[in-house]
């Protein structure tokens, strides 16, 4: 079986779709490069299909910790000034963002 047969058929359209889901604006050249890179990565990842996982439960976390609670009280908190310090655009006490509602977004 040659390497190409194992290749997942990643199409340009699929890569564009994933870029959209990822909220990444890629140029056409970047889309093509990503397609090549991901194709070669998937050739490697596809080896996982050879492992027999029938009847095995997925494990998403090594420590199998249970969620912890604490009392719903106010503890340390950030000041407005601290929060706004790193904002790209500030208007008064607000973070300035483009209009989202009332029209095409």
């Amino acid at each position: 079986m040659n390497a190409n047969e194992k290749n997942i058929p990643l199409t340009t359209e699929a890569v564009r779709h994933v870029a959209k889901l990822s909220r990444l604006a890629l140029t056409d050249a970047e889309i093509e490069q990503t397609k090549e890179d991901l194709s070669s990565i998937f050739m490697h990842i596809d080896r996982l299909k050879q492992i027999d996982t029938a009847g095995v439960a997925p494990l998403d976390h090594p420590s199998e910790l249970l969620n912890r609670d604490r009392d719903d009280g106010v503890g340390e908190t950030l000041s407005q000034q601290q929060v706004l310090k790193n904002a790209p655009a500030v208007k008064g006490v607000y973070i300035d963002v483009p209009k989202v509602l009332g029209g095409e977004s």
């Binding site: 699929a14 890569v15 994933v18 870029a19 889901l21 990822s22 909220r23 990444l24 604006a25 890629l26 970047e30 990503t34 890179d37 991901l38 070669s40 990565i41 050739m43 490697h44 990842i45 080896r47 996982l48 299909k49 492992i51 996982t53 095995v56 439960a57 997925p58 494990l59 998403d60 976390h61 090594p62 420590s63 910790l65 969620n67 912890r68 604490r70 950030l78 601290q82 929060v83 310090k85 790193n86 904002a87 790209p88 655009a89 973070i95 963002v97 483009p98 989202v100 095409e104 977004s105």
Partner: protein, 470 residues
């Protein structure tokens, strides 16, 4: 580090002398190890167990002083409003933090070539990488710029650079060190750990940063473990597992030779060597490169140009395009590649075949370790298949990913691991360090460090430093 702390305690030296000397050498360093160096705003002159120690912090761990950029244009100039728990604990212990070290962007890389602030160089050979993603921290300690440095390890990002730079790199059991303030890459894999020049120093620093933290929901509810008092114990009753087939021609011959020599050292110390089976080592990287990018794609969704981080200067964009351009401009190629990979394996139609399947293999990897640890106390092998490679040598992503082939399963299973120097490769003309990788069961960190310490005491590889070789 220990000897400096002692000389402060008996008045032979002062903290300010030590710190000034550190800043002087950081000022003139040529490895690009440091992104910034400073005195932390809450640094005080207190009596503590680490008084006199100079410690650098990887730039994906937040500090209120200076900036935290994670090696990325996305966070250029970002000033964290809080300190990571590990930062607070180190300052409270009397240590002096000396600045932030360069890393692969958002901890994604195995060479520190993907840092927005430039490549970091290996102090043993300036044409070679220090490893990654914690390359700056590793280079800083290897070059003697500071006593210790914090790093983070998601698939090998402390242990691999420690091997390439000839120093100790320790990744504690998942949950032992708080991740509060560690910028998240893959939340179920990330751990903060330490780089030092000796196992004892690593144990000392780790004891300070470890222990339960209410602010980290994945922090294990145990106090900091005692890692130092049993360090000198003999390994005569220890069983060391060597995975069948770990020393093949996948590794450089000199790496295999160094590991075989290490096995003989342990035999001479009275340890029992046991052959074990870890066949899933072969698929560790594939499993890792499904799980880690999937988690990363989720964790990096917060960088949207809205509340902090880079926002595109392009005007009149709708919200979607604001996100898409801010992210495309702020992230480097490797980060974008991994986000795309992660999004893909989580997307509808592929989730079961890739992500869910990888989680099943994750369980199998854990079970394989459980079986192995029923036969041995500690697992031994090479940290990396080769010593440090030349800058630019691994432009193909997959060949770069394979650098972590021996370290990724440690994170997948959440167990503890350490790399210690065990030899040098001389084939290239300059001596290049080789790392010995030891892994222990979850929460057996004290035993892991004891076994590492025994090797170090019986050998002198850790006494070799790059400044002696030029």
């Amino acid at each position: 580090m220990t000897s400096t702390i002692e000389s402060i305690q008996n008045g032979e030296s002062t903290v300010s002398n030590v710190v000034n000397a550190a800043f002087a050498s950081i000022e003139t360093e040529t490895f690009n190890a440091f992104h910034e160096s400073w005195i932390h705003e809450s640094q005080t002159d207190i009596e503590g167990p680490l008084k006199g120690a100079t410690i650098a912090v990887k730039d994906n761990i937040v500090t209120t002083t200076g900036t935290t950029t994670c090696g990325s244009k996305m966070l250029d100039g970002y000033q964290s409003p809080f300190d990571a728990t590990v930062v607070e604990r180190l300052i409270a212990s009397g240590a002096t933090l000396v600045g932030k070290t360069n890393c692969d962007e958002f901890a994604m890389g195995s060479s520190t070539e993907h840092c927005a602030w430039g490549v970091v160089r290996n102090p043993w050979d300036m044409e070679r990488v220090p490893g990654g993603s914690s390359g700056g921290s590793a280079a800083a300690v290897a070059a003697g710029l500071c006593h210790a440095a914090l790093g983070s390890d998601t698939g090998g990002s402390i242990r691999q650079p420690a091997a390439f730079c000839g120093i100790v790199g320790y990744k504690p059991t998942y949950g032992v060190v708080s991740r509060y303030g560690l910028v998240a890459f893959a939340s179920s894999l990330d751990q903060i750990g330490v780089f030092t020049r000796s196992v004892k120093d690593a144990a000392l620093v780790a004891e300070i940063i470890a222990g339960f933290d209410l602010k980290d929901a994945t922090s294990v509810d145990e106090p900091s473990p005692n890692l130092t008092s049993g360090l000198e114990k003999s390994v005569a009753s220890i069983k060391i597992g060597v995975p069948r087939g770990i020393l093949t021609d996948r590794n450089d011959a000199e790496v295999n030779e160094a590991i075989q020599n290490a096995i003989r050292v342990y035999e001479a110390l009275g340890a029992t060597i046991v052959e074990i089976d870890l066949p899933l080592t072969d698929v560790g990287i594939s499993t890792y490169y499904v799980i880690a990018p999937a988690e990363a794609s989720s964790n990096l969704a917060r960088y949207d140009g809205i509340r902090y981080g880079h926002r595109t200067k392009k005007k009149n964009l709708n919200l979607f395009d604001l996100y898409a351009h801010s992210r495309a401009e702020g992230f480097g190629d490797e980060v974008k590649r991994r986000i795309m990979l992660g999004t893909y394996v989580l997307s509808s139609g592929y989730y079961d075949a890739y992500y869910n399947n990888a989680l099943k293999i994750r369980r199998l990897i854990c079970e394989e370790y459980d079986t192995a640890f029923s036969q041995c106390d500690v697992i031994l092998g090479p940290t990396t298949p080769t010593p440090a490679f030349k800058i630019g040598a691994k432009s193909d992503p997959v060949s770069m990913y394979l650098c972590d082939m021996y370290t990724a399963n440690t994170n997948i299973a959440g167990i503890c691991g350490i790399s210690i120097p065990c030899g040098f490769a001389n084939d290239s003309g300059k001596p290049l360090p080789i790392g010995l990788h030891l892994q222990g069961p979850a929460f057996a960190d004290a035993t892991l460090l004891q076994v590492a310490n025994a090797f170090e005491t019986a050998t002198d590889f850790h006494h070799h430093h790059p400044e002696q070789v030029s």
